[in-house]
Symmetry: C2
Subunit: 202 residues, 2 copies
DNA sequence: CCCATTCTTGACTCACTCGTCCAGAACGAT
DNA sequence: ATCGTTCTGGACGAGTGAGTCAAGAATGGG
């Protein structure tokens, strides 16, 4: 009935994500996004409304993708729960260290720039970190059931601590901490988690 | 010989800090700063050069003030070293929770927004977190001498971990974590620090 | 008192960016 | 084929914000 779109919405969102991620919200121009995607501004505005709405879509997508990714890394049986936790913590450190462009995490960057003045961003950031905390808590509880972490510890509190360490790794990475520092933090964080009484600490 | 300045440079920097802190770099207008300080734009540009240089001054001042403040909180004799560490970690959590405006820390905000594209900011952020890590390391070493922390642990690595937790608390606070969560993280982080063999874990 | 020098004020320029608009193009239904 | 509808591309308008400039004001020295 009507002329079909020539572009793929998800592809445009991905490209826009790159731009917002590199430059931040304020410093990214809609003209850049138009040029990067090959779209005319009319199409861009027609499809997404405006800069703020486009960013909200991008941010929302990104947060969802982060939670999905972490979920894939952390969900599984009790026997491997500690291995998954360890792999995840090390993976975050490695990814942060490998991020030579120091763009960091869009969640952190967007939150830092906009949460104060944009309630939508603040809300989404909140639900995202809560989801991450819950994933960590589930995995830690599995570790406890499997005897890898002291069952007397509060898994919710440990999860919050690990989440803080992970977010801290991101923050320090953006501030230029060395790979050695970041991987050291990851290893130390795992090492200080409370083991069951009598367990070997190696 | 010449007409003297009517304004206090430090006061202008403090006011500019407030603006940059609230809005971020890109979203803060020089006109805002001019109005907030009562200066004409000519004076502003004459005294500080431009927006970027002004921000560098502000950021530099802020980083220095942060290191000074932490230094005051953490330096002292061995006997109180653990108390100072505990007080500091709890103070960061409390300050973050109390920051209802969610502006966070200018160090984190400025780094997130600018480190990628502004080498000066990146450098300053790096020296600052390294200074903070060193202060924590000194205090942790004091804790070890006093028998509050396991002397076998590497104080540098523990310091990096604590710093990551502190930066993580800031990040989570900006993302809307509750006061309970933040103070819980602080308490848990202190609780998991390794105690000397045989010491009471309470 | 006058002058050189530096500071102040705010209007001005210029480039830039968000968002709009419109003429034309591509499609399916009839 | 024709028509209504939706998409496209890019020119345009309006507003904004960084930085400049020139005329005037305040100061101490001669």
């Amino acid at each position: 009935m009507a002329r079909p779109r020539k572009f793929d919405e998800q592809q445009v969102l991905d490209t826009a994500r790159e731009r917002f991620w590199s430059g931040g919200y304020a410093a990214t121009r809609m003209d850049d996004i138009a040029e990067a995607t090959g779209l005319g501004k009319g199409s861009l505005y027609g499809a997404f409304g405006g800069k703020q709405e486009l960013f909200h879509r991008v941010f929302d997508d990104y947060c969802g993708a982060v939670v999905d990714g972490v979920s894939k890394q952390l969900c599984g049986g009790d026997a491997d729960a500690y291995a998954r936790l360890s792999a995840h913590v090390h993976a975050v450190a490695a990814a942060t260290a490998a991020d030579t462009a120091r763009r960091g995490c869009l969640l952190a960057k967007g939150t830092a720039e906009l949460a104060e003045h944009d309630e939508t961003v603040a809300q989404r950031a909140h639900t995202t970190i809560e989801a991450l905390r819950a994933l960590l808590e589930d995995d830690i509880a599995a570790c406890q059931r499997n005897g890898d972490i002291d069952a007397d510890a509060d898994p919710g509190r440990l999860a919050a601590l690990v989440l803080a360490v992970l977010r801290g790794i991101e923050a320090l990475g953006k501030a230029g901490a060395s790979e050695e520092t970041l991987t050291g933090i990851a290893a130390t964080a795992l090492a200080v988690l409370p083991r069951p009484p009598g367990a070997d600490r190696g």
